[in-house]
Symmetry: none
Subunit: 210 residues, 4 copies
């Protein structure tokens, strides 16, 4: 009885995952509005009606997609910075983990940034669920890291930590977004080095007296 139910649950989970991935592929290519439920069903190899057995409507399917990635990313970042000491070093490895995740799920990023940055209110507003919570918690954590790094004299102190984290995300996001649509991409190690280098020192404007 119990194991039967467990089996069912598992099967359902696997199927839902498949549908989310198909949706991802289609939406990445055609955009949210451009992707029809028929397209998605076609990509998943099922009938339209089947999608509605797993997701109440198109929006919920989209939400499920974002939620899954949000949680996965939060997990990855937490795992990456777990064994690391030093707030700046933590920020760095989190950044690298993010880049690694990006390289594994490039399609998702075009969608996410579209929704995140310019997004239509309706869609963006629906991220407020657990996905948004995970995102905000993750960000709060990093702001705390930045603050500690400032206190420890590891980074400049003339800019509030909130702005620093936003800056850090911004650099990563735009760079990844650019790569997500690019024909060729530098190897992952170079990506990490370049992005972190820019985050660390920006244009590296020389002091006049130097």
């Amino acid at each position: 009885m119990r194991s039967e139910s467990q089996y069912r649950k598992r099967r359902r989970e696997v199927a839902a995952d498949l549908f989310v991935q198909s949706a991802e592929a289609v939406i990445a290519q055609k955009g949210y509005e451009g992707a029809t439920m028929h397209d998605i069903a076609g990509a998943a190899g099922c009938a339209v009606g089947t999608l509605y057995l797993y997701f109440k409507n198109k929006e919920m399917l989209f939400n499920a997609m974002v939620t899954r990635h949000s949680h996965a990313i939060a997990d990855q970042l937490a795992r990456a910075s777990a064994g690391v000491s030093g707030p700046l070093e933590q920020l760095r490895v989190r950044n690298e983990a993010m880049i690694a995740y990006f390289n594994a799920h490039r399609e998702f990023f075009r969608i996410f940034y579209a929704a995140d940055i310019g997004g239509r209110a309706n869609i963006a507003s629906n991220l407020r669920g657990s996905a948004m919570r995970a995102y905000l918690e993750s960000k709060a954590l990093e702001i705390e890291m930045a603050r500690k790094a400032q206190t420890a004299g590891l980074i400049r102190t003339d800019i509030p930590p909130e702005e620093m984290i936003e800056f850090l995300h911004g650099v990563m996001v735009t760079t990844l977004a650019r790569w997500s649509t690019a024909a060729s991409i530098p190897p992952q190690e170079n990506q990490k080095r370049l992005i972190w280098s820019l985050i660390s020192g920006g244009l590296g404007v020389m002091r006049r007296g130097a």
Copy 2:
């Protein structure tokens, strides 16, 4: 005859401008797909059919919108950096001009970044017209400035100038985008100082030996 034609052309231009602005307002609020031609006509105070006298279809109306801003921005940036000497200083004033433009046309930015960064292939691909050309020329100009700044020893040299300009744009874009949806925004002078400060020095990571 000629002046008659000129007058006509001018009138047409003015009307088209009105429509583009109306479209901008509506699209900023409802997104590209969410904005109907009826909405836009309503906002402009004309009938739907009239829009089609000025733009072949919805996409061309969108294109016109982007094109106008692209050219306006290119103009503003060129004008700003005209009387300035020194490549780094030129980059800085261009950056400030961009921020000024943003503050004057905040609505447009949400649309543009959505289309530019994560955007639907269909729309993004349509930017290839004169808008894209203006954008690319402007970017090429700035890359050249960065290269000169490197040669002049004004900025670090371990990163190719192309990446530097992308970085510069990225920081500006994400910051402006964040502000474009924010409830309250810092005064323009602070915006300029903060953004340039981050672009110049990033997190300002301290050298160990220092």
Copy 3:
């Protein structure tokens, strides 16, 4: 300007009427759920989208249909009983007017009784607008007539006037409903005589002593 607007309004009214009539014909044949918007558009000789220019949705089209008839019936009955004196006589002519209306709009009746008597809560509940108001006012008027007829010693007094009017409606309704689906119908004068005869005296059960 004014006359232009008047003309438009009139045209709209006429078109809406046509659509309502088409809807009526189709719904009478296939029932509310069975009648598709495509069917109705087909019957009206227009495209589906056109229906939505006149009615917000299927339900509002149905509502418009009922409302129009409700008002028309109330008008007819009021007109019929206007020049008549004597409460019982008034009830009789109203009854005849109803029968006349039925003969002119037989299709509508099958729909109305379905909605009125057994109807799905959703649809019935939407009759609460002006249609329901007209219906209830008309009924209240008749109850008052029945009361007066009792006071005047024209009809029996052992049954409350409310029940009498419900009875009167019931007899008329079921008889008309039966005829509305029947292959052949008695001539209108016979209809009136038969219905009123039954309403007046029922089965005419003889008193035992008689």
Copy 4:
């Protein structure tokens, strides 16, 4: 073997009854089209597929529902009038039996009258099975009773017995239908008295000379 089969048959009968009752409850609340097979299965505590083991499709389930009640009603009426002598008295007790049945199965009535009176052609037409036969036989019986009552001088003779029976049914049906949706209902004895009183004498219009 035989008893085994008997047992099976009996079990099947019981299950079918349960399903019909569940369908009744759901349809009464949501209407025929509004009630989904899932709803009904849910109400019955079985899976959708199971319903299809007992009824070929939704329509047959509906038919089974009507058929069962038709037969039950016919039985009740026959039983009620069995020990009664006098055609008019038979009609009266049958009427009372009907009212009793109604009070025991109020939900069913809203459904039945909807289908019977205004009903969708598709459903109404499907009553032609044994349900319709039972109904028509019952009606024929009552027409014969009315004819006898006329011959015996118990009721008026100026109206054909067929019309009288239709009238009798009409009064009962509309009154019961009204009560089936009403918030409060008079006690059953009063129901019987009121309905029969109206059937017997209608409005009781006084002869002028009286």
